[in-house]
């Protein structure tokens, strides 16, 4: 390698820029922007305002913050449900007034005042909820009008009763405690706010009503069609918001011991800005309580900060308007363009260099030289099948294969003309294997390892393994289970080709060439799945060796075959058996003469090999060109290769016409015939192997005669 190539390798293989894309797939990244905004806001006002962090000042501002964040929590729930509640301003003022008049004028106990405040909040919430939830009016205008109505009623009442409130002699220790005292330095308002935020967070993320609210916000129509009572759910959100306002009204009534004409003025716009600045999507479905609380802190700190710095009249409104506009625009643009950004940065190719392969050209004289042997095979299921990735035969000579429709098809011996749907898996069945009891095991694409009993019972064996600590994308989930085989003791070894892409995006994985594939082992005794080998370049075929202690493992994008010993004296060792092949290996299966068959899904090309050594070029390609113009590995020609335990190539079978079997993903020997499948093919081919044992079958050879 030249120095330049070494540097390239250093740059692309050791700087983990794939993590940017992986982090962007995470939902919690949505929280990052408001969090940074929060830190910046506090930093700015903390430095501008002397004594900002003094306990006394903090105690006072946190009391206000506690009250404010309760309202924002309620509003956030409404927004998550796809609505909006502007009436919080007057609702809160009315609740405060209800508490004040009950306690100070009607001289009732404080708990009655508490209930009165909650009752007023509840009433407002029910009215809003009924109008918007059940009558389906527009949330914004409706709550705007209930805001004005509430404000007008409040203005009338507050003027009427203000002198009576001021002359009242009522006092209460509890009231004073709520208003002035702290518990371990934390005021009652803050404690209540934290409790409410925590309860709301748990309810929204982990309870049925919470999920209903989120799904109604996410897609009202789908929620309706899924049987969720949309109207009642919407109603509920406004009721919750109303109750939050009622509670806050009570707290503020205690703090101020009264309510004046200015109580709650412009609160609705403050709360709305807070919810949106926190990053909750207008229109619902996306957001969280935590975001709402972060937004509440940002808005309150900014508003109070501007007042304390001493900016003139109007500066607050200017800041609010600016914050609201910027937050809404950012949110909408981000929501709209997030997947574009993700597409741009997710594919991060690495440098991968393979040595030159021996030629596979017909007549080139190398062991790999392809012939035209399988261009004329007996077709099975022509035009009936779509995507038989793997084929397998049972003890009674019936033939099984998967299709891309999620079914396993069974063709009946002896002529394989008649077929039936043997089982429906729901995902694309890839690798197949029989265990000792005759259960058909299958790696179902994007789903996991499944077992289908002879009486067609489909059971999931494994869909996850242990997550690695350093992983960003969830690598516990099986994204691309590909092939499986069973050890003599019943353990199932299977591959998961990549952790960064879904099964249908295998082409992106090939362009990236990042080794993320794994060999996994499912142990039926414990029901647990363990990761055996990691960092494989598209781990593909698995096949038990004839010795029962080791297995062969194909690594597609590395064009190599490994042997891994899981038992016996060499247990745990991994050896390269074949490397730098001219083709991309797929499934491997045992042959009757003690050797192995291997499928080539495609052939290496000099251009793609060169591209693999230039990760920067591939990166620019995925960013700047439409997908149609990308350079992909060639999968239009493949073949079948026979090799022995030492890795010696014994022969090849090819289809130079490209009609019958251009791409081969699996082959299975059975009673002197070779059955050939291809994931992009519409048939299974049957090829008579010269000089093969006409009685050899894989189940009998491996598991013995039927007990």
């Amino acid at each position: 390698m030249t120095l330049r190539e070494r540097l390239l390798r250093l740059r692309y293989n050791h700087i983990p820029d794939h993590l940017i894309g992986e982090i962007l797939t995470k939902r919690w990244t949505d929280n990052a922007i408001p969090f940074v905004a929060l830190v910046i806001t506090i930093a700015i006002f903390g430095t501008l305002i002397p004594g900002f962090f003094k306990p006394a000042a903090l105690s006072d501002s946190t009391r206000q913050l506690g009250e404010f964040s309760i309202i924002v929590t309620g509003l956030t729930i409404v927004i998550l449900g796809g609505g909006i509640d502007l009436s919080v301003g007057s609702n809160y003022a009315m609740s405060a007034f209800a508490a004040v008049i009950t306690f100070f004028v009607w001289e009732q106990p404080l708990w009655v005042a508490f209930i009165a405040a909650l009752g007023v909040g509840l009433t407002f919430g029910c009215i809003n909820g009924y109008l918007i939830g059940y009558m389906r009016l527009r949330a914004f205008l409706t709550t705007l009008v209930t805001l004005i109505i509430g404000r007008a009623v409040f203005d009338i009442l507050v003027i009427k009763y203000s002198t009576q409130v001021q002359q009242s002699q009522m006092a209460s220790d509890v009231l004073d405690f709520i208003a002035d005292e702290t518990v371990y330095g934390v005021s009652v308002a803050v404690i209540i706010a934290v409790v409410i935020a925590a309860v709301a967070h748990v309810a929204m993320t982990r309870s049925r009503p919470g999920w209903h609210i989120l799904s109604v916000g996410g897609s009202r129509r789908s929620a309706h069609n899924a049987g969720i009572r949309v109207r009642r759910t919407v109603f509920l959100t406004y009721v919750i918001s109303g109750l939050c306002c009622g509670l806050t009204g009570f707290l503020v009534a205690c703090r101020l011991s009264g309510a004046g004409p200015g109580t709650g003025a412009y609160l609705e716009i403050w709360a709305l800005t807070a919810a949106v600045v926190g990053g909750n999507s207008l229109g619902g479905g996306r957001g969280s309580i935590v975001k709402g609380v972060m937004g509440a802190i940002i808005v309150l700190v900014t508003m109070n900060g501007l007042v304390r710095i001493g900016t003139g009249t109007g500066a607050n409104q200017m800041a609010l308007g600016l914050m609201l506009a910027v937050a809404v625009t950012l949110d909408i643009r981000w929501l709209k363009n997030r997947h574009k950004v993700l597409d741009e940065v997710y594919v991060t190719p690495v440098h991968h260099r393979m040595d030159d392969a021996p030629s596979a050209l017909p007549g080139s004289g190398t062991p790999y030289a392809l012939n035209n042997a399988i261009s004329r095979t007996e077709y099975i299921g022509l035009e009936e099948l779509e995507g038989p990735e793997d084929v397998i035969l049972d003890r009674d000579d019936h033939l099984y294969c998967g299709t891309r429709h999620g079914e396993i098809i069974r063709f009946f011996a002896p002529d394989y003309k008649k077929s039936e749907v043997f089982a429906h898996t729901g995902g694309f069945p890839l690798g197949l294997a029989f265990d000792q009891a005759g259960n058909l095991l299958s790696c179902v694409g994007a789903m996991g390892l499944y077992s289908i009993s002879p009486d067609r019972q489909v059971t999931r064996l494994s869909a996850e393994t242990r997550r690695t600590w350093t992983s960003v994308v969830d690598d516990a989930r099986l994204r691309d289970p590909n092939d499986c085989d069973v050890a003599p003791d019943g353990r199932i070894f299977f591959t998961d080709s990549t952790t960064r892409y879904d099964a249908h995006e295998w082409a992106l994985d090939s362009i990236e060439a990042r080794p993320t594939g794994r060999l996994l082992c499912y142990d039926p005794k414990t029901g647990k799945t363990t990761t055996v080998l990691e960092k494989l370049r598209y781990a593909n075929g698995v096949c038990m060796a004839h010795d029962g202690q080791s297995l062969f493992l194909a690594e597609s994008w590395a064009c190599s075959v490994h042997r891994y010993w899981f038992d016996g004296p060499k247990a745990g060792t991994l050896e390269v058996v074949i490397k730098d092949m001219p083709g991309y290996p797929d499934n491997i299966n045992r042959a009757s003469d003690g050797t192995y068959w291997m499928a080539w899904l495609g052939m290496r090309t000099p251009s793609f090999d060169l591209a693999l050594r230039h990760p920067g070029m591939r990166k620019r390609m995925t960013r700047n060109l439409p997908m149609d113009d990308w350079l992909f590995p060639n999968i239009n020609t493949g073949g079948v290769v026979k090799f022995d335990e030492t890795g010696k190539i014994l022969g090849t079978l090819g289809d130079l016409t490209g009609i019958s079997h251009p791409m081969v993903t699996s082959m299975r020997e059975h009673k002197g015939w070779l059955y050939i499948g291809g994931i992009l093919n519409n048939r299974i081919g049957r090829y008579k192997i010269p000089d093969a044992d006409p009685n050899w079958t894989a189940p009998v050879a491996y598991w013995g005669e039927k007990p």
């Binding site: 796809g82 609505g83 527009r138 914004f140 109505i149 009338i156 309706h224 949309v230 109007g314 409104q317």
Partner: protein, 333 residues
């Protein structure tokens, strides 16, 4: 009878209601139309005059609503642009230059509103709410010095009520302006291509876009129109009270403008309504406001009554143009 009922649109109902109210007020309310048994036009003229500014704002708002938008920044633009204009005149900026600046500012707000709605896909309600706050805050804190800005003596604005036409007919300039605004709005919506486009957009936005209506420039256009209407309304306000008090932004005026449109029969879901609906709506509000003032309702009480009427109007609008889970648009709040 059924034929008669089918003609009973919201507009007709409102008109009948307005007529009934008018008659009732004329007969039972002393001072509304007759004082001590003698006809007097003064109160009626005052009534129409009182709703003229509202009506001009409602013409702009109506055009926006027909195009399926809403402009919550109208009152802020009205007050702040004129206040800034007066401030410039008071501080000695030459008249034409000041007018140019003010108009440029007004058009800029309209452009920004329209741009954010049309090109950045932000819901109109939030764009205009934010711009309302921003415009108020920016002008109040940066460009003017106090809430009330008087018009400089001898300004052309103060001369408006003394125009020949006005003095000869005894009908205030506001009424002429309102009439002119309605007429121009009518001509625009009825006889120009762009006017028809606005109906198409309001009726079915996606279909209009698919058939080639330039929906984005059109959206920008109607926000600019609304902003310009607001400026005209502001000038008229100043001509009658000789100053501009920006506290009007914090009042319920904006809701009155929406009330005029909705109650007159301009459906909030867009595509429906004409300029005559604005007239009908404005008349009803004018009669009500005038009657309530004569009956000695306080301002707050009037607000309460008007907002309850607005809520009723929205409920009726919702019943007449129902939305359900299958047809409601996501994020349509």
């Amino acid at each position: 009878m059924t034929r008669l009922l089918s003609h009973l649109t919201q507009e007709v109902i409102v008109f009948l209601l307005a007529a009934t109210l008018f008659l009732a007020a004329a007969i039972f309310l002393p001072g509304f139309m007759f004082k001590d048994g003698a006809f007097q036009a003064g109160n009626l003229i005052a009534m129409v005059r009182a709703v003229s500014v509202l009506g001009i704002l409602a013409v702009g708002m109506g055009i926006v609503i027909i195009g399926r938008g809403i402009d919550l920044s109208a009152v802020a633009v009205m007050a702040m642009s004129v206040a800034w204009y007066l401030q410039m005149l008071n501080s000695g900026v030459p008249g034409w230059q000041a007018l140019g600046w003010a108009l440029a500012g007004v058009v800029a707000v309209g452009l920004i509103n329209g741009f954010m709605v049309a090109y950045a896909d932000v819901p109109a309600i939030f764009v205009t709410l934010a711009s309302s706050y921003f415009v108020y805050g920016f002008v109040r804190s940066q460009l003017i010095v106090s809430d009330a800005t008087p018009a400089p003596a001898g300004s052309w604005i103060l001369e408006l009520p003394n125009l020949g036409l006005v003095t000869s007919t005894h009908i205030p300039i506001d009424v002429y302006a309102f009439g002119a605004a309605v007429f121009v709005g009518f001509l625009f919506l009825r006889f120009t291509k762009w006017g028809r486009y606005i109906y198409l957009m309001g009726d079915n936005f996606m279909a209009a876009r698919n058939m080639g209506v330039p929906v984005r420039p059109m959206t920008v256009l109607y926000y600019v129109i609304s902003a310009l209407m607001a400026f005209v309304a502001g000038i008229l306000t100043t001509s009658s009270i000789q100053s501009m008090n920006v506290r009007v932004v914090n009042s319920n005026m904006l809701y009155d403008v929406i009330l005029v449109c909705v109650i007159g029969g301009i459906g909030l879901s867009g595509g429906k309504g004409y300029m005559r609906n604005v007239v009908v709506g404005a008349l009803l509000i004018g009669i009500m406001g005038n009657a309530m003032t004569i009956m000695d309702f306080t301002n707050v009480e009037q607000n309460l009554i008007k907002s309850i009427i607005l809520l009723t109007a929205i409920i009726i609008d919702g019943l007449l143009n129902p939305r359900d889970e299958q047809t409601a648009q996501q994020g349509d709040i």
